[in-house]
């Protein structure tokens, strides 16, 4: 069973629209259309997640009702909130470092969008499938740290500065275990190409009473999966690792001074990063877009998986206390790093001996 088409999405469009004959220009237009569609789907999901799903999920955890005034199940609150946020005054703090302050939200949101370029989303949706896909996605996802530092530094606010410093410290502490755990998957697949990582997980591991259990890496190596999830939650800065924002301590961290559209961008960026984190987890450990049913509904399974990760972050938000920054760094450098290398050695042994 091969879920991934050989042709990336831009080529599909190029063929459909007959752009193949226009050379580089045609390729560019096709890529633009494809990227536009993928980007908008992702933004639409964050649009649902931010103003509505987040509230509803948290409300369920905490015995409340949440948004229910506009539209069915309060869904109408999404356009209303969008309008509200966009119509707010953009307040620029005195002494802000102007270009950096303006660019930072774009970088935070943009870096996550870039990551989706190489994610195979099933049903043939994948913008590009470079050989170094996994390295690329980790690389662009961590550009967000740069955006946070810029935001924090340029805001001319001490809380923002503290938040930025925390963001850097936290990302350093968690990026390495995250990547090293990701590498353990590469040991299995022997490739950094996303489509091959997904393909490697489609074989049947064992059959229990006619039910084929696929060799998803989450099932093959649950230890790595848990490790990766924890590092990923820290990477996207959610509870219990929402230390760069830490509302009760440093107000809102690096985003304290942002309002209006810039705030929306940062806010969207955060949700995009959660979804990107979910997408990476799905590709590396949960068989990408694999699931019961025909191949063509693969995208639906993919969406289910990334929303499951979103649900996990919201669950943690309702139930887990926040670590202190020094404790987090200790956990990162003294715990996760060792464990991730241990996992790497173990995986290498398994791959070397068993496979």
């Amino acid at each position: 069973m091969i879920l991934q088409t050989e042709t990336p999405l831009p080529d599909v469009f190029a063929n459909l629209l007959g752009l193949g004959g226009f050379g580089a220009v045609g390729e560019f237009v096709a890529a633009l259309i494809a990227a536009f569609i993928v980007g908008n789907v992702m933004l639409a999901m964050t649009g649902v997640a931010g103003p509505w799903a987040k509230r509803k999920i948290t409300a369920k955890f905490t015995d409340r009702i949440a948004a229910n005034r506009i539209g069915p199940a309060g869904l109408g609150t999404i356009p209303a909130d969008a309008l509200r946020l966009l119509s707010k005054e953009l307040i620029v703090p005195e002494g802000a470092d102007r270009p950096a302050w303006d660019v930072a939200p774009l970088i935070v949101a943009g870096s996550a969008m870039l990551g989706f370029a190489v994610i195979p989303m099933g049903s043939g949706i994948q913008l590009a499938d470079p050989e170094v896909g996994l390295a690329y996605v980790f690389a662009v996802a961590s550009i967000a740290s740069l955006g946070m530092v810029m935001a924090g530094y340029a805001s001319n606010n001490k809380y923002s500065m503290l938040g930025a410093l925390r963001a850097v410290a936290q990302n350093l502490a968690y990026e390495i275990p995250l990547v090293v755990t990701g590498i353990s998957v590469v040991l299995f697949t022997g490739s950094l190409r996303m489509s091959e990582i997904v393909a490697a997980q489609q074989e049947t591991l064992i059959s229990v009473g006619g039910l084929a259990i696929p060799s998803w890496f989450a099932i093959v190596n649950p230890f790595a999966f848990v490790l990766f999830l924890a590092a990923n939650v820290a990477e996207v800065g959610r509870n219990p690792f929402d230390i760069p924002e830490a509302p009760t301590e440093i107000v809102a961290g690096f985003q304290t001074e942002y309002s209006s559209v810039y705030f929306v961008l940062l806010y969207l960026g955060e949700f995009l990063h959660i979804f990107l984190g979910g997408a990476i987890t799905a590709v590396l450990f949960l068989g990408g877009a694999a699931g019961p049913g025909p191949e063509s509904i693969g995208f639906l399974w993919f969406v289910v998986k990334i929303w499951a990760f979103f649900l996990l972050t919201q669950w943690l938000r309702s139930a887990a206390p926040r670590l202190r920054i020094d404790q987090l760094i200790e956990v990162g450098w003294k715990g996760m790093l060792e464990l991730s290398f241990l996992n790497l050695v173990l995986t290498a042994l398994i791959v070397g001996v068993v496979v």
Partner: protein, 554 residues
Amino acid sequence: MSLQEGDEATPEIESGETELEALLDDLIVDTDDHMNAPAFVIRPDTVQETLGRLKNEAGYDHLSLVTAEEYPDRYESIYHLKKFDDPTDEVSVVVPTDSENPVSESAEPVFRTADWHEREAYDLVGIEYDDHPDLRRILLPETWQGHPMGLDYDQDRPQMVPLREHANPLQDDHRSDTDSDTMFVNIGPHHPATHGVLHLETTLDGEQVVDVEPDIGYLHRNEEQMAQNGTYRHQIMPYPDRWDYISAGLLNEWAYARAAEDLADIEVPEYAQIIRTMGAELCRIAAHMLAVGTFALDIYGDFTAIFMYAIRDREKAQNILEDLTGQRLMFNYFRLGGVVWDLPEPREEFFEKVRTFVDELPDALEEYHDLITSNEILQMRTVGTGVLPEEVAKNYGATGPVARGSGIDYDLRRDDPYGYYDELDWEVPVEDGCDNFSRLLVRMREVEESAKIIEQCVDLLEDWPEDERNIQANVPRTLRPEDDKEIYRTVEGAKGELGVYIRADGTEKPARFKIRSPCFSNLQTLPEMSNGEYIPDMIAALGSLDIVLGEVDR
């Protein structure tokens, strides 16, 4: 030491008092008799000597309150001393200073808690304290003209201070110290974790707190003066609800009721005492629920499950209080000599409701223990952080759950019994961890004990004969306690020792009404707990103190 050399011993002096007189022999100028304690008048330059002897040799280790007041011919500072081992053993030290040059020695070197109390006395009354480390205004802005509790203060004079003369708390951000290794941050007055309008002037070294100085007074209303303008019988009782407004209203009302009833010699009927006890404990549960919820909020960082669960359970207590008093927040349910009305009809329904609440409480608490106290991350965050050693806590006059979390076995409900507490079966929870976690545990265990008390009260009320349900004593329409009667009485509020000092002058209004706010003293310990710790630990320590700015600022 020679015994009673220069002193005229009054006939009713107890033996303990004689010993004290012997101890302070050379310092006593005169004696006075407050209703709650013997009072010794001393010279303004012997304050440290006197308090030092009382603390170290006679064991009066708790400076409960410093009251300052102005008489037509003099100023007076009164130091109300107690023992943590036995709060009924009290003594007052009266320090008169002349009205032209009101300078008195500071008690701060002996009792750290005197720092803020004397600043307040300076701010509101105008007495100056020699040797005080930092004698500034504390509740009013620096630019305030005059001392509002002084006799010659003109109430109608507008405080016309141009904007440029106002100290802008945000301007002085110490940015000029270019070589400095530290950073100055204003936490508050508007900040998610300050639980109201509190301003913490914090100096940071990276993520660590070098120094923190609470700046209070944003919610100051001079409740003391408002009380002085009201008549004893009815007009003062609504104010206590507005001190600790976190649904601890009945506990506050009791502080005033206890002082005023003892002052006017009113005996409260037993039936009313049981209702008071039950209502007060319901308030305590409601207050502690909010304390636990907001503490979790400070640690968890979002409106999490625990906060909402705590609010949900608090709501049940609140509903019962609403049935009982007719109000949800500003109860105004106590009257001098009893309570305003009997339990709501039908009584069975009310008892059933209270019983259901009390019966469900252990399960609810179990849920909190699952969610909070047994959570490993929370333990990482709270065990061993915000440490307040026992001796430091005593020195700062910390009381209530803060003191009991530091291993001080001190609860006025048991040690200085009032109401119906001494007839009931319950315990005082004490933890000796001295950290944030201990204070959390104490509050949660106190909720259990309160539930026990309520249950027993309901049993008693249910079996009370119908024709003996006397809810109010016979109190004269107008109360005029005798001139120059002084009393200081304390009760165990939700946050600690809540006291009221009243001096009567023969009229129907008190001549001086002074509030001892537990939060005021407890908040003073914040620097001790957080200096050298990380910012999140300071926030946690602040949350564990469970302050209410309405009570800190009054």
